[in-house]
Symmetry: C2
Subunit: 478 residues, 2 copies
Amino acid sequence: MPRSIRLLFVATTLAFVFVLTSQAAYAADRPNVLLILTDDMGYADISYNGSLQVKTPNIDRIAETGVYFEQAYVTGVVCAPSRCGLVSGRYQQRFGAEHNWNEFGEIYNAEYIGINPNVKVMSEYVKEQGYATAMIGKWHVGESDRMRPEARGFDHAFWMGGNHTYWPTAERNRLKLNGGPVTKIDVPYLTDWWTQDAINWMTKDHGDQPWFIYLGYNTPHTPMQAKEEDLAKYAHIENQRRRTYLAMQDCLDQNIGKIYKTLEETGQLDNTVIIFTNDNGGPCEANASINAPFRGMKSNFLEGGMRVPMMISWPSNIEPGARYHQPVSTLDLLPTILAAIQSPDAPADFDLDAAHPENGLDGVNLFPFFQNKVDADARPHDTLYFRAVFRGTAIRDGDWKLIVTRHDLPFLYNIAEDPQEQNNLLLEMPEKARELKFKLGQWEANLEGTPTFFNSNRWLRGKYRAYEKEYILEQPAP
Amino acid sequence: MPRSIRLLFVATTLAFVFVLTSQAAYAADRPNVLLILTDDMGYADISYNGSLQVKTPNIDRIAETGVYFEQAYVTGVVCAPSRCGLVSGRYQQRFGAEHNWNEFGEIYNAEYIGINPNVKVMSEYVKEQGYATAMIGKWHVGESDRMRPEARGFDHAFWMGGNHTYWPTAERNRLKLNGGPVTKIDVPYLTDWWTQDAINWMTKDHGDQPWFIYLGYNTPHTPMQAKEEDLAKYAHIENQRRRTYLAMQDCLDQNIGKIYKTLEETGQLDNTVIIFTNDNGGPCEANASINAPFRGMKSNFLEGGMRVPMMISWPSNIEPGARYHQPVSTLDLLPTILAAIQSPDAPADFDLDAAHPENGLDGVNLFPFFQNKVDADARPHDTLYFRAVFRGTAIRDGDWKLIVTRHDLPFLYNIAEDPQEQNNLLLEMPEKARELKFKLGQWEANLEGTPTFFNSNRWLRGKYRAYEKEYILEQPAP
C-alpha cells in the first residue's frame, strides 16, 4: 500500500470514528421536539386559562412546568394562513398564502395552492439538523406532489388536508400515509389515532437521531363528533354543541396525558421540548368555543380571533411556572426550535441569523426573552402585522392596536389598558391611528407577494399641479 | 298537394316575406354604433375640456354635436378591470376581474385570466340584435380560446392584448386578426391602422345589417411613440415625453377626423351613435398626461384617477350641445347602446330589464336621463362603488365620496363643493364617513366574486359574552 493511500485510509477511519462519536454526543444532548397545534380551540377552554367547565390537567401541565406566553398571536385568523406562518417562520402574505384557498374556488393554479416549495419550512430546517421528523395530523398547507409533507422534510407523514370526520372508515377517508391512501383503520376515533401514531414514532428506534413531531390535532374543529364515554361526562351541559365541544376537548386532554405517560415511561420527558398552541381564535358559533376574556372570534382581528394560548415546556432547560408578558408570535416558534436544537458545540450567543442567512425569518428566538437574558422591557417584536386582504388588516404596535375592517372606520385600542377592546380611540387620537395605518401600509407595500407598485402614497402629492403649471399654462397649443 | 301542405307553404312564404320586409325596415331605422375608447388619456388633454396645448376638434365635435357627461366614472382605475366593467355592464369584481392580471404573475389559472365566458358581453348582446360586429384595437379582457374577441360575438376582430408598440413589423408583433397572427403590415403606425380597419368595416357591404364597432385605441398609452410629422407640430414643447404625448393625441384626433369624413361621405353620420370615452385617468408620470382640474391619476381613486371624458352623439336622435351633470358610469354604456338599437317596434317605455331578464346589469339606460324624460334631480346612480382590493376602495354616494387607501385613514370629500378633493372631512363628519364605509362594506360583502362569509360585521356583536354567561358561569365542570 503506498504511503499516500495508507495515510488517506487512516484519515478516513479517524474521521468516521469522530463522526460516530460526535453523533452520539449530539443525540444525548439534543432534545426531542413535540409541537402540538390544536384547531379552532377557544382561548378560555383550558382550565389553565380559567375554564370552569372543562378540566385540562395535561395541557395545563405544559404551562405549569414551562413558560406560558400571555400575549401570543397567530399570523392568520383562519387555518391555512396561520399554519403557513407557523411552519415557515415568515409572514405568509410574503408568499401569497393569505386566505384559505378553498374560499376562492378554482381561480388559483393548483401548483400555487400551498406553501411554495421555494419557501423553506420548519421540518426541512429540523431534518437538516439530523432529526427524525414526523408530520401527524392536519397539514393544510399544500397537497400537491411538491407541497405535501412527504415532500417537505418529513420522514414519516400520517396526515389530512383541511377538514375531516373523526370517524373515518376504510372506504371513506381522505387520510394520507407516507405518500399513499389509508385503507385500514387502526384506531376508530381520529384524535386517538393521531396520538397513537405519535406515540409509535416517539418510541420507535431512531438510532442516534433525536425526533421532531409536528402533531396537528384537528380537534376541536368541526364536525362536532365526540366519543360516547366523553359525552357522558358532560350530560349536564344543556347546549348540545357545547356539550360535544367539551367532550372533544376533554378527549384531547386525555390524549396529551397519554403522551406524557409515554415520555415518562421511556425516560424522554426531561429532554423533550413540548410546545402547545392553537391555530386561531375559536369560531364561537361553529363549534361553541369561548374566547373569554377577549372579544371576537376566528376570522376577525379582535384579540379573540388572533390571541391564542401558547406554552413551552422543557424540564431540563426551562424553569417551571414562568409567564412571559410581552407580545410574541407563532412566527417565533421556528427560530425558537432552531435555537433549542442547535448543535451542542454552538456558542452561548449562537446567532441564528448568521447560522441561517438564507432565512429572512420574521420570527425571533424567544429563549433570551423568557429566560430574562435581555432587558425586561425589550420586546421580541415592537410591531406585528396582520392581513387577510378581503377581510381586513391589523397592526399591533407597542401597546397600540389598529384594526381595519370592511364595514366601518378603523378601530384604535390600547391593548395594555383595554385588552377587551371596548374603547375605540380613533376620534380621540386620529394622529396615532394615522401613524399606525401608515406603518401598516408600508409593511403591505413591501410584501413580496403584493405587487410593489400598489403604493397609494403618491396620490397624496397632488402631482397634476406641477404639470399644469409647466405644460398647460406656459406652453400653449401650436 | 294536400290542403295542409299547401297551407303550410303559404304560411311559410308569408312569414319569409314578412321577415325580409321587417329586416329591411330594421336596417333603415336602426343606428350603427361606434364605441371609441382611448387608453390612459388625461382628462384635460382635449380642447373641449380646456387644453391650451392640443387642439382636438374632432373629439370635441362628438361632444358639441351630442351630449357631454360632466361626471362620468370608470369602474376600474387601470386598463383591464375598467374594460371588464364597460363591456359587461357589470361591476367587474363580480366575476373576479379586479386587477390587471399580469400584476400577479402566474398565480391565476389561465382559464380565469379574462372575462369568464358565462358573463355576457356587449358584442354578444349587439350581435344577437342582428348587428355586424367588429372589435378593432385593444381588447385586454382575455386572450384564451374562450375569451378572445373571436369567441365573444365579434364577426371581425383585429386586436391586441394589453400593450403594444405603435410601429409593428411583420416579424415582431403581437397583433391578432380573425383568429390568427398578423404577418403583413398594412399601415405603419398603429393608431392609423386601427382607423383604417374601422373605416374598412364601416364601408363594407353588410347587407341589411347595421354595424357595431368597438374601436379601442391604445393611444395615448405608453410606449411613447409618435410620427415625425406630428412631433414637428410640438417642437416648442420642452419636455420630450409631453411633446410625444401631444403628438400622439393630435394624431388620435386626426384619425377621428378621418372617421367623420367617411361617415359623412357614405351618408351614415346621421344615424350613427358615436360614443367616446377613456379607460381611466391619465398616469401623469408614465405618459405625461394631465388630469386637471382634478387631483390624482390612473391607479388611485381620486377624481383624476377615475373621472373620464364621456360623450355620445347621434345626430338624428340627440340634440346637440347638451351637458349632463349627474354622475354616470361606463357601466351605463351597454344598456344605453341596447336602448338605442332596440327593435323599432319596441314600445316607447321599452323596459330593458324585462327584455333582458338574464342581465343583472349594474348599468342603466342613460337616454331618459340626459333627454330630460325623468325628474331633473333623478340620478342614474345614487351610489357608485369602486374597489381594487390591494389598492383600496371608494364610494360615491350622492355628492359624497369616501376613499379608503392603504397608508392613511379614509378620506371624505363633498364632490359637489370640493371636486378637487382638497378638504378631507373625516374628522369633522365621522358619522357620514361611517355611513359610507358601511355601505361600501355591504356592497363588498355581496359581490359574487368575494366569498360571502367575509363579513366583518359579526365581530361587532361581542358574541362571547352570551357564551360566557350561559356556559361558563352557570354550568361548571363535572
